[in-house]
Amino acid sequence: MEQFMLLTQGFFISMTPMNLLACVIGVLVGTLVGVLPGIGPVGAIALLLPFSINMDVTASLIMFAGIYYGSMYGGSTTSILLNVPGEASSIVTCLDGYEMAKRGRAGAALAVAAIGSFIAGTLGILGLTFFAPLLARFVLLFGPPEYFSIAFLGLVILTKMTGKSMLKGWLMIMLGLMLGTVGTDSLSGINRFTFGIDELQRGFDLSIVAMGLFGIGEVLDAMLQPSSKIELMSVRLRELYPNKSEWGRSIAPIFRGSLVGFLVGLLPGPAGVISTFVSYALEKRKSKHPEEFGQGAIEGVAGPESANNAASSATMIPLLSLGLPFSAVSAMLLSGFMTHGVIPGPNLITGHPEIFWGLVASMYIGNVLLLIINLPLVGVFASILKIPMQILLPLVIMITLVGAYSINNSIFDLFLVMVFGVLGFHMKRTEYKPAPLIVGLVLGPTMERGLTQGLIIENGSILSFFMRPIAGSFLLVAVLLIGYSLINWIIKRTPKAMDITK
């Protein structure tokens, strides 16, 4: 009951003209970045971060969250109409969505994707509404060893979820942790790895690193892709009605996709992408006509599109209740919080209920807005791809650069953005994923504080961490996962296994 009261207050907060405008801007920008390949939600949030400095904190967070879940909607449009996934989380939608479009059922695919996204998004936010405060209360039991353990487990799971090479994932996490130690040590006050450069004393600004790795890096990568002429299929509003059979086949996948997406969204890693693959595999297994998958099965659109939206809501739960981001997007959202001096975590819900509940309520509103915007304007959004990328990409680079400068009015930040941009560009091309680096950078200080303080509390015994029920459980799972991965790695590298693979 208390939660309903707070949520109602949240609706009042999110419906003020400024917050409503922020929500509209967020979902529109989100849909746009979802449509445009090469520009993701992380880059878009990084790009808009400087503009938000003068904004009200709730409004700016509403805008950033809108970009995130809005991008999940936009990605499906180009997947279905052009076979071009705007986002990685819409790759699966191409398989059946584009096939449906070729058979003249683009309208039905778009409608099912949008309505499925709406239902899943709303269910995901309901989960966020009820789970986040409960989890936040549970988190109050956490001490330094628990914070260290959950951050460590998160990083271990992240290496298994991101990219093809686990070793590369681990290296990226270590680099993130190393970057996180640059600056003045909060416990001892000693400057570490600053080499006498004043600007490094405050450490690496998350938004600067993200702007480089994701903003500049992704755009530079897109600049190298060969440009192709877009042949856009037209969809009329009256064609946006799925027939009775299509509806019947979509309902169960939408709800299954919502559940899968929500559960995967709670795990560290690119939940939006993973949830779509899990949902697609599940739908294919459940289907009476698995042979239709890849030929235009509507379940292959309904399930994955619902899953990625539910995942985007669930990803917010660890961020808002634990204060720990386990994906690149939530790390950027954390950066948005910290820019305004707000620290997410259990104290956010009790200390700043207006921000938490305003944000949650705005997500309900944003989902409705996305449904209203996306269905009638689907053709408009898709036609954005007609803007020549040769012009759009340099434009994004220049705005990102000036945005990076404006955060601290620092040429040094600009230099860092360029360094991380070039690094991110080469990383993208060489299967080194930037997401674990960003998460490592964000979780590094939490892990260091948890480990250092925990060891002091436990008199130097790391084994005592295992004796604490919560920390011990997290660490045990992490150790088992590492052991499993190590055994797998050794088995793959034995001469016999190598002979078989040859």
Binding site: M174, L177, F193, L395, M398, V402, Y405, M418
Partner: protein, 138 residues
């Protein structure tokens, strides 16, 4: 090639970091000091980078590498020029020149349209950041 070079850069960077970290006070287990986590992270990064390099399983498509290196070097050169240009000639001329350079690098035809777009971007960004957001640009 790119993958190999990047892996060696990561190894070298991790090695430098680890050497610096060894110079910081490690402390003892019951009282870890400023060098505790850096030493562990740096050492782990060096070991992982060596494992990646020694495994020798490179995944990048070699056929595309020539275009990749040429364009990436040209873009990087443009970004470095921008950094220097901002300090020397100021925001508007530097943005105009680099935007024009990037547009031509992206093979936008003609000179007039790219020049108009570059001028518009430079002036628009200046107006938004300097005028609306009150951020003093160089």
């Amino acid at each position: 090639m790119a993958e190999r070079v990047l892996s060696y850069i990561f190894l070298l960077g991790s090695l430098c970091y680890a050497v610096y970290a060894y110079g910081l006070s490690f402390g003892v287990m019951s009282s870890p000091k400023a060098g505790f986590l850096p030493t562990i992270a740096g050492t782990a990064a060096v070991i992982i980078a060596i494992l990646i390099i020694s495994s020798g399983q490179w995944t990048v498509n070699i056929k595309k590498e020539r275009v990749y290196w040429r364009k990436s070097i040209l873009v990087t050169a443009g970004l470095i020029f921008y950094l220097v240009g901002l300090a020397v000639v100021g925001y508007i001329p530097a943005t105009f020149l680099v935007m024009l350079y990037l547009l031509k690098l992206m093979e936008v035809q003609d000179w007039l349209i790219p020049a108009i777009i570059s001028a518009a971007v430079a002036l628009f960004c200046y107006g938004v950041f300097n005028g609306l957001l009150s951020i003093s640009l160089p």
